[in-house]
Subunit: 401 residues, 2 copies
């Protein structure tokens, strides 16, 4: 007598799955040069140091490491994270930190703790697709605010905050996924002055902050706005995603609420992985490791920006990121990046992500995200040459306009 | 201008935190003999084999193991789980399995995918506290159905299913937390015959199934009811909880829905831990390991049941579990186990969990849960002697009646 349609929640019925999940199988076909992914470069994964760290951690604390742990996460790891923020000029204590299953879980927990159906929430336009989809499960009303080369457009945000009771604001201020853009110091200051006048929490989704390879350092939004900010961090982009280890930084009160939420969700984050990672961080040369990544990502970013300048038709524009993993391309307004994706895959075997899913209001049809993180400069040059050809053909062709 | 009370979701305001979290700090004080926990015995944690498994796994697949993985989990691990069910006579394929962060996450995902506010849901009375609290976040209407020594009371369940549109039914049919009771084969058969006539899904929360140390084997409810059952499994009780690795088994269609939900929650489960555990399972002697645990838990269970028989006043009754980690004690109807807990901690330093939080309807005031999993037979005997004294004193005293 099973009739599943009568049993699924409305939430489950609304969850159509990720767009990336739909296009990714195609992008992994043999011969494809793939700029669609958002993966860190596996050349940097510290395989041998992790073996050594495991042995050391397990010999020191094996039984405790394999037992149930605290919901908030391993104290040593929270202390390590706090000390790293302190080095960057942000004073936080371990009881402001909660270890999560990657920063994606931080997003979900924030939605759980703050969003009721109909609550208004600002997102960047374009914004991080998985965050938008995750928050959407809690049925907020999204309001998109645009981005410029300096970050979120403050005047537009001011209008939105003036005219709406905005509970939450999702930002990715450093080398955003998908655009690669970063908020300038001036934007951060103006944002802080504005938001401090409203009862609005800022979610600072910050997995790429340490991956700056050029330009001037900026400070975390939490350094400006304190308890009005929940910062989400991650080891995925600086060590390895396979650990699924991220964290939240917030006021002790908000952190307690996030902990209570997480306790019912999965009790605590994998303690074995936390303990091994902590041993690696203590013994390893994480700064040297990150510096090496920055150097490689810079050469890959330069290869992509240079090749786009050389091979793309002049009607296209693109961001020139100072860090992170992504470049964001804008085609002429009436172009359709999904049609271009199909043409590109069919004729030149180059993959990227069309821009539509990074918005909630139908914009982005003529935009696309490319990641430079996993391809060599040579592959990037070859890929951009092919993609430039496809774009030119598309824009010149009958379907192009 | 921060006013958090205006910002928290109704869900977060309802989440008062776990009762266990409130009493656990007291139970860990020095000198306390602690039967309150629900922890597996750390003597069995395979510390050295895990070191060896890590080295082998990382040398074989280090880069893949540290990269992002599939939401559904590592294929090899899903194949291992499927093969183990097949050995027990239940045919499932790897695409019916989703790897979760412990079976607690399975509970939360089931709530996400099936529960809208007001939906009716059957729970066992008493039932597993963390499951009830986790489901409560999705605002179902709980209906408790009692337990006998044979498992859930079928006649009572039949009435409930006849008179209510029940979407979900949470069960822990093998050595339940908190009661230690198991559904007999006859109860399983009757349950299947009854439930198959209703459009109701059974959640079979089954972390203790492999910990049977006496009596006859029973089959998973999924063997009787197929796609009408979602089984939740866990490595926490048979290998180690620190991995936070569990799984769901359901029809391929339901599994797809659970995967879509998990993708937005945390993308995927810790791949490093999955890969290391798989290597351990392939190389290790897991059957010998579980057999050894059964032997030790049996001796601990016998020590507890024998000592209760010897030391507890005749007005008390208790379950005599054939597996798992728990014994459930019932005091005379007007006794208050919370008052007894305070008396016991103050005078004899013996800890247990009072029964109230295992019900949603105020029952259980005169009941208590004791775990025998982490104490030696000698400590158990001493603890029961002390607890028997406290119970006698309490029942004889002015506050007792």
């Amino acid at each position: 007598m099973l009739n599943l349609n009568e049993l699924y929640s409305n939430r489950a019925k609304r969850n159509a799955g990720s767009f990336l999940r739909q296009i990714f199988p195609r992008t992994r076909a043999p011969g494809v040069i793939n700029f669609a992914g958002g993966l860190p470069n596996p050349d940097f994964f510290p395989v041998e140091p992790i073996i050594a760290a495991t042995e050391k951690a397990m010999r020191a604390d094996g039984r405790d490491t394999l037992q149930y742990g605290l919901t908030e996460g391993l104290l040593g790891l929270r202390e390590w994270i706090a000390a790293r923020y302190e080095r960057q000029g942000l004073k936080v204590s371990p009881d402001q930190i909660l270890i999560t299953n990657g920063s994606q879980q931080g997003i979900d927990l924030v939605g759980r703790v703050f969003l009721d159906p109909g609550d208004k929430m600002v997102i960047e336009a374009p914004g991080y697709m998985s965050a938008i989809q995750s928050f959407a499960m809690y049925e907020p009303q999204f309001i998109g605010v645009g981005l410029s080369d300096e970050g979120i457009v403050i005047d537009e945000l001011a209008e939105v905050l003036k005219n709406n009771r905005v509970k939450l604001m999702e930002t990715c201020p450093s080398f955003q996924n998908p655009s690669g853009l970063a908020y300038s110091t001036r934007t951060r200051e103006r944002l802080a002055a504005l938001v401090s006048q409203h009862n609005t929490l800022v979610v600072e989704d910050d997995p790429y902050a340490e991956l700056r390879f050029m330009g001037s350092e900026t400070k975390s939004l939490q350094a400006y706005l304190g308890e009005q900010v929940i910062t989400l961090g991650s080891f995925s982009k600086i060590v390895a995603p396979g650990f699924r280890l991220g964290w939240t930084v917030a006021s002790p009160e908000i952190t307690r609420k996030l902990i209570l939420a997480k306790q019912l969700v999965d009790i605590h984050t994998n303690l074995f992985a936390q303990r091994v990672l902590l041993e690696y961080l203590r013994d390893g040369n994480i700064d040297g490791h990150i510096n090496q990544m920055r150097g490689v990502y810079l050469s890959q970013r330069n290869a992509m920006v240079d090749a786009m300048t050389r091979y793309f038709p002049p009607e296209t524009t693109f961001t020139k990121p100072e860090g992170g993993m992504f470049v964001w391309v804008t085609l002429p307004e009436d172009a359709d990046a999904m049609a271009l994706f199909n043409l590109s895959m069919d004729t030149e075997k180059v993959a990227f992500v069309p821009g539509l899913p990074f918005y909630t209001d139908g914009k982005g049809k003529n935009q696309m995200r490319l990641s430079f993180s996993t391809q060599s400069p040579e592959k990037i040059d070859e890929g951009m040459k092919r993609l430039g050809r496809v774009i030119s053909r598309y824009l010149d062709g009958p379907s192009g306009q």
